[in-house]
Amino acid sequence: MKKNAKSDHEGGADRIFRRTSTVDAQAGLGAIARITRMSFRYPIMAGLALVATVAAVLMQLSIPVLLGRAVDQTQAVAASNAAPETLYPIATLLFCASVARGIFTLIQNYTAESVGHSLARDIRNLTYGKIQSLPFSFHDRTHSGDLITVGMLDLEGVRMFFSTALVRTVLLGLLIGLGATLLLSTHLALGLLALSFVPFAGWRSTVMRLTLRRTWLILQERLGVLSQVMEENLSGIRVVRAFASSEHEMAKFEVASKSALKLSHERIETRVKNTAAMTMAFFISMGLVLYFGGRQVASGEITLGTLATFLTFMAILQMPVRQLGMMVNGYARASTCGARLFALIDHETEIDNLPDAPDLKITNGTLKLENVSFSYAGNTDLPALSGISFEAHKGETVGIVGPPGSGKTTLMHLLPRFYDPLVGSITIDGQDIRDATLSSVRKAVAVVQQDSFLFTTSIENNIAYADPYTETQQIRGVAESAQLHDYILGLPDKYGTIVGERGVSLSGGQRQRLSIARTLMMKPAVLIFDDSTAAIDAGTESRIRKALREYAKDRVTLIVAHRLASLMHADRILFLEHGQIIEQGSHEELLKLGGRYCDLHDLQMRPSANVLATEVDKL
C-alpha cells in the first residue's frame, strides 16, 4: 500500500517537470489564485498599487472630459465674444490632471513591480530551500536542467504576474467600466457604438489566451530540452572534444533549437493575428462614432465637445486595447510557470524530520543495522539490498567489498538517510535514525562520496564547508591528515586558491583528498569512505590511513573499496553480492574461508602473468 502511494507520487514528479499535459486548467487557476494571495502578503504595496491604479484611471478619464469641455468653451467664447480669460481654469485643470496621472502611474508601476520583486524574493527562498531539502530519490529522477528552468524562467513568469497581468486587469476593467458609465450616461447610442469593440476584443483575447497558454507550455518544455542539450554539452565538453563530435552536438542543438523556434513562430502568429483583429475592431467602432456623432453634431443634438470627449476617450483606450494581448499573455505565463513552481515547492519531502524529533544523542557510538532491505523507485522487483544486519562499535573499522551493483554504495547512502530503507531499521546508540532530526543524523554520519562535487570557492572554504566557523588550525589539521597540505602550499594562493566548478583544475586524486579533508572536518560518529580513494595512489592512501589512526578511535569507520589494500587492515570485512552479505570476518578469516573474498585477493595480490592470463581466459 505504502509502496504504491510512493510510486504514484514519483510518477507525478516526472510529469510535473517534464511533460506538458499535466499542468491542467485547475492547476493553472490554482496557481494564479495562489500568486494573487502571495502578492497580498505585501498589503501596503499591493494596496497602494491598486489605489494608485484607481487614481491614475480617474485622472486618465478626466482628461477626455476636460478636453471636450475646452472645445465647447472655446466655441462658446468664440460665439459670444466673452472674455478669453474663461479659458484659464480649464487649461490649468488639464495640466493638473495630466501631472497627477503621471504621478499616480509612477506609484502604480513602482509599487506593482515592488510587489513582484518581493514575491520573487519569497519564491526564490522557498525554491532554494526546497531543492536543498528534497531527497536524493527526487534528484535522481529530476533533470537538473529542468529544475534550473523552473527556478529561473518560471520565476520570471510569476514575478511579472502582479504588474503585467493583475494590475493591468484592474486598470483596464476600471478604465472601460467607468468610461462606459460616463459615455453611456452622456449619450446611450453613441456610447454603445464607442464600446462596441470591447466584447469582440474580450472574445479574441480569450481565444488567444487559451492558444498562447498551450503554446507557451510546449515552448517551455522545448526550451528546457534545448537548455539540457547545451548544458550537457558544456559540462561534458571534454568528452565532446575528445571525440571531435562538435558536429554531432551541433546537430543535436539544431534539432532542439528548430523545434523551439517553430513554436516561437506559432506563438507570434497567434499573438499578432489576434491583436491586429482587436485593433481593427477598435477602429471600426471609432469610425462609427465619428460618423453618427458627426451627424448628431450637425443636427445639434450633441456638442462638438461631447464628440471630442468620445473620440479622445477611445484614443486613450487604444493603447490598453493593444496591451490586452500582453495582459492575457501574463495570465497564461503565470498559470503555467506558477503551476510548475508550486509543484516543486509543494513537492513532498519524503525524508524529513518527524514532528518534535529530538537530536540524535551519541553515547557509545554504536551503529546497528537490522534486517535492512531497500529497492530503488520503479525497481521494486529488483531489491538493491535485502536483509542486511550488522553492528559496529566505536573505534571499529569495517570494510565493505563486492562486485559492482552489489549494493555497497546504496548501503552507505542509507546510513545518513539519503534514502530510507523499505524494511528494517538503522539505529545509532539505540535511536532509530528516522526518529531523530535529519540535521543531527547528517552530522553524525558523514560520507566521503565517490563523485566529489567541489564548490567554486577557495580551498579553505571548501574544506570548511561543513563547519564554516571553524578555526584556521582545524582546516590545516584536516588538510594535513588528508595529505593535502603540502600540495596546497605549492599553489599560488595557497588555501585561498579558488577551485573551479566541479574542481576541474584539480586532479581526481586531489579532489578526493579535498573531499576527505572536508568530511574529516565534520567529526562524525560514523565516517564512511565510499570508494573515495580510488584515484589516490596507495602510498598517499596509506599515509592518510596512518594519519587517521587516532581519529578513527572515536568513531565507526566504514570503508568501501575495490582495492583490497584499502580495507584489508579493517577489523571486519563484509562481502556483498546481490544486495546480501555473503561473507564476513577479518581479512585472515576470510582468506581461510577460501570463498569469494579469497578469489578476489588472489586476483589482486598475485598479478603474475600466469594467474592473470588464466583468470582472463576464464571469462
Binding site: V77, I103, E232, R476, G496, R518, R543, A565, L619
Partner: protein
C-alpha cells in the same frame, strides 16, 4: 555586500579569530572571466546577425512606414470631418466620403500592422536563435582552459537569460523605428496645420531631452547592477542544484539558505532601484503632456476665438499631443529595454569574442587510412600556466600498433600528456606528432576520428544506452553497438535494464553505478574503431571483476591499434609492449617489462615488492629511485 568571507588565505595569516568561511554561488567576479573592456560595438555585432534578414527588415520597415502613415492620417480625417462634415449647411455626402476614406485607411492599417508585427516578430526570433547558435558553436571551439575556469551556470545564463533579453529588444526595435517616424510625422503635420501653435507646443521637446540626458547614466548603472545581482543569484541556485548531494551530506542547507537569502536580498534591492529609475520618467513625460495640452486649450482656444484657426484644427492638435507623447513614452520604455539589451548584448559578444587558442591551421591536413597510429613527443614542454610547466622537455615515440603504459605518481603529468596528444592545449615548446604529422597541422575533426579516448571520469549524455555507445560513431549500426557492449562486458547489465539498449539514462547516467558508466564509456570508445586509443586512469575506479572484463576487452581492442594507457595496475601494465615512467613532469624510465626489470630501477623494485598497483609505491622508495635515475 553583507557577504562574509575570508579575504586572506590561510597559512599566511596567523590571527585565528573564528570567521565564517562560506559563500554560495561563485566566489569570483564576473570581470575576471570575460575581461572588462567595453568595445562599444555591440550594436554592430548584433547587426551582423540581422543582416541575413535584410529582406524581412525592408518589408517590416515598409510596413511600419505605411502603418505610421495611417496613424497620422486619422486625426487629420477627424479634423476635416469636424470642420466640413458636421456643419449644418454642408451636405451629408461629404461626411460619407470622409468615412469611406476612413474605412480604406483602417484596412491599410490592419494589413500593415499585421505584416509588420509578424515579420518583425519572426525575424527577431530567428536572429535570437542564430545568436544562440553562434555562441554555442563558438563554445565548441574555445580553449579548454577557458571552459575549465568558467562555470557552466554562467555560460548558461548567457545562453538563456541574455539571449532572451535581446528578444524583447529586437522585437521592439522595429516598433521603435515606427515610433520615431510617428514623432517626426506629427511634428511635420502640426507645423503644417499651424506653425505658431506647433512651435509653442514643441518647446517641451528640449526640456524632455535635457531630463533624459541627466537620467541616462544612473539608469544605466542601475540596470547593469540589477542584471549582475540576478545573475549571481541564479548562479548560486545552479550550484545548489548541481551540488545538492554534497550539500545534504555536509548538512549545509540551512546556512546556504541564509547566504542565498542575502544574495536574493541584494537582487531585490538592485531590481527595485532599477525599477524606480525606469518609472521616474513617466510623471515627467506626463507633466510635459499636460503642459502641451494646456497650451493648446489656451493659445489654441484664443486662436479659434480670433478666427485664426478652425476648431477642428484645435481638436487635431489635441489628438496629436496624445499620440505625440505615446511614442515618446514607449521610446522611454524601449530605452530601458535597450539598456538591458545593450548589457546583454555586451555579455553575448564577450562570449563570441573569447579567443580560440586551438584552431585548425589554414593548410591543415586530414589524417587518412594511410596515416599510421604513431605518436611522438619531441622536446615537449607544457604548462597550464607557462611559468609552471607540468611537462618538461619530454621525448618519446610510440610506434603504430604498439601499446604503451604511462605510469607515474599523481601529478606527474600523465593526464596532461594525453590531453596534448589530442591537442586540447597547444604546447609551449617542442612538437607533438600523430601519424607523423604535427598535431597543429592536422584538422581537429580528423584528429578526433583518429583517436578514441576514455576519460578519467565517464561522462554520459541524456539519451538511450544505444545513443550513448554510438555517440561518436553515427555510422555504427545496432549490431556494432551490441558487439562493442559484448566486447567490454557491458551487454549483460544493459540487457538487464528495463528497456535494454533503449533504456533512457538519467542525467549523467546517474541510474547506473560508476563501474557500469565506465563500461559504457569503454564501449563508446571501442565502437569508434579509431587507430589510437587513449585511456586515462579509467581503470582506477573499476573493481576487479569489471576490470577482468576490461582486460579481456583491452587485449582484443588493442590488436592492430596504438594504445596509450595511463595505468595503475600491474595487470594492465604487464600487457603493454612498453612502459613509460613519468615523474614530476619528466620521463625518468622507459622500456618493456623485462628491460625495466633488468634496469633494476623504480619499476623493478615495484615489481619485486609484488604490489598490485604501481601507485602502491611508497614515496620514499620513489624518491630514492629518482636519485638513482638522475
Amino acid at each position: 555586500m553583507s557577504k562574509v568571507k575570508s579575504s586572506e588565505p590561510l597559512g599566511t595569516h596567523e590571527d585565528d579569530s573564528p570567521r565564517m568561511r562560506a559563500v554560495v554561488g561563485s566566489d569570483r567576479i564576473e570581470e575576471e572571466i570575460f575581461g572588462r573592456v567595453f568595445d562599444g560595438k555591440v550594436a554592430q555585432r548584433i547587426w551582423q546577425f540581422v543582416r541575413p534578414y535584410k529582406r524581412q527588415v525592408a518589408i517590416s520597415v515598409a510596413a511600419v512606414v505605411t502603418y505610421t502613415g495611417t496613424q497620422l492620417t486619422i486625426p487629420l480625417l477627424i479634423s476635416y470631418a469636424i470642420d466640413y462634415g458636421m456643419a449644418a449647411e454642408e451636405p451629408q455626402s461629404l461626411l460619407l466620403k470622409i468615412m469611406a476614406i476612413f474605412a480604406v485607411i483602417v484596412i491599410i492599417n490592419f494589413i500593415s500592422s499585421r505584416v509588420q508585427e509578424l515579420v518583425t516578430g519572426r525575424m527577431a526570433e530567428n536572429v535570437l536563435f542564430d545568436i544562440r547558435r553562434a555562441m554555442f558553436e563558438h563554445l565548441q571551439r574555445v580553449s579548454l582552459s577557458f571552459m575549465d575556469k568558467t562555470e557552466v551556470g554562467r555560460l548558461m545564463s548567457r545562453l538563456q537569460g541574455d539571449v532572451n533579453s535581446m528578444q524583447e529588444f529586437l522585437e521592439t526595435s522595429v516598433l521603435a523605428v515606427g515610433d520615431l517616424l510617428l514623432l517626426f510625422g506629427i511634428v511635420a503635420v502640426m507645423l503644417w496645420l499651424d506653425w505658431q501653435l506647433a512651435l509653442m507646443v514643441l518647446t517641451v521637446i528640449p526640456i524632455l531631452f535635457a531630463v533624459r540626458i541627466l537620467w541616462l547614466a544612473p539608469a544605466r548603472a542601475a540596470f547593469m547592477a540589477a542584471h549582475e545581482a540576478n545573475s549571481m543569484t541564479n548562479g548560486a541556485l545552479a550550484e545548489a542544484i548541481h551540488g545538492v548531494r554534497a550539500i545534504q551530506a555536509m548538512d549545509r542547507a540551512n546556512l546556504n539558505a541564509e547566504l542565498y537569502g542575502q544574495l536574493v536580498d541584494n537582487t531585490y534591492k538592485a531590481q527595485l532601484r532599477a525599477s524606480k529609475l525606469s518609472q521616474i520618467m513617466i510623471p515627467i513625460v506626463d507633466t510635459l503632456t499636460g503642459g502641451a495640452m494646456a497650451v493648446v486649450a489656451l493659445a489654441g482656444g484664443l486662436m479659434v476665438v480670433s478666427g485664426r484657426i478652425e476648431v477642428g484644427v484645435m481638436v487635431a492638435f489635441l489628438f496629436y499631443i496624445q499620440r505625440f507623447f505615446d511614442p515618446i513614452r514607449s521610446l522611454t520604455m524601449q530605452y530601458s529595454v535597450m539598456q538591458r539589451a545593450m548589457a546583454s548584448g555586451h555579455r553575448l559578444t564577450e562570449v563570441l569574442d573569447v579567443d580560440i587558442d586551438v584552431q585548425d591551421a589554414q593548410d591543415a591536413t586530414s589524417l587518412g587510412d594511410n596515416d599510421d597510429g604513431s605518436v611522438e613527443f619531441r622536446n615537449v614542454t607544457f604548462g597550464y600556466h607557462p611559468e609552471h610547466p607540468v611537462l618538461k622537455d619530454v621525448n618519446f615515440r610510440v610506434k603504430s600498433g604498439e601499446t604503451v603504459a604511462l605510469v607515474g605518481p599523481t601529478g606527474s603529468g600523465k593526464s596532461s600528456s594525453m590531453a596534448l596528444i589530442h591537442r586540447f592545449y597547444d604546447v609551449q615548446k617542442g612538437t607533438v606528432l600523430v601519424g607523423g604529422h604535427d598535431v597543429r597541422d592536422i584538422m581537429q575533426k580528423s584528429l578526433g576520428r583518429h583517436i578514441a579516448m576514455v576519460l578519467q571520469e565517464p561522462y554520459l549524455f541524456t539519451g538511450t544506452v544505444r545513443d550513448n555507445i554510438r555517440y561518436a560513431s553515427d555510422w555504427a549500426d545496432d549490431d556494432a553497438v551490441v558487439e562493442a557492449a559484448i566486447a567490454v562486458g557491458a551487454h549483460d547489465f544493459i540487457e538487464a535494464l528495463p528497456l535494454g539498449y533503449d533504456t533512457v539514462l538519467a542525467e549523467r547516467g546517474s541510474n547506473l553505478s560508476l563501474g557500469q558508466r565506465q563500461l559504457l564509456s569503454f564501449a563508446r570508445a571501442l565502437v569508434t574503431d579509431a587507430k589510437i586509443l587513449i585511456m586515462d586512469e579509467a581503470t582506477a575506479n573499476i573493481d576487479s571483476y569489471t576490470e577482468m572484463q576490461i582486460q579481456k576487452a583491452l587485449r582484443r581492442l588493442l590488436e592492430g591499434r596504438t594504445g596509450l594507457v595511463i595505468a595503475h595496475r600491474l595487470a594492465t601494465i604487464r600487457n603493454a609492449d612498453r612502459i613509460i615512467v613519468l615523474q614530476k613532469g619528466q620521463l625518468v624510465e622507459q622500456g618493456d617489462h623485462d628491460e625495466l626489470i633488468e634496469l633494476g630501477g623504480l619499476y623493478a623494485q615495484l615489481y619485486q615488492l609484488n604490489y598490485s598497483s604501481f601507485d602502491d609505491l611508497p614515496d620514499k622508495l620513489s624518491d630514492a629511485d629518482r636519485a638513482l635515475a638522475t
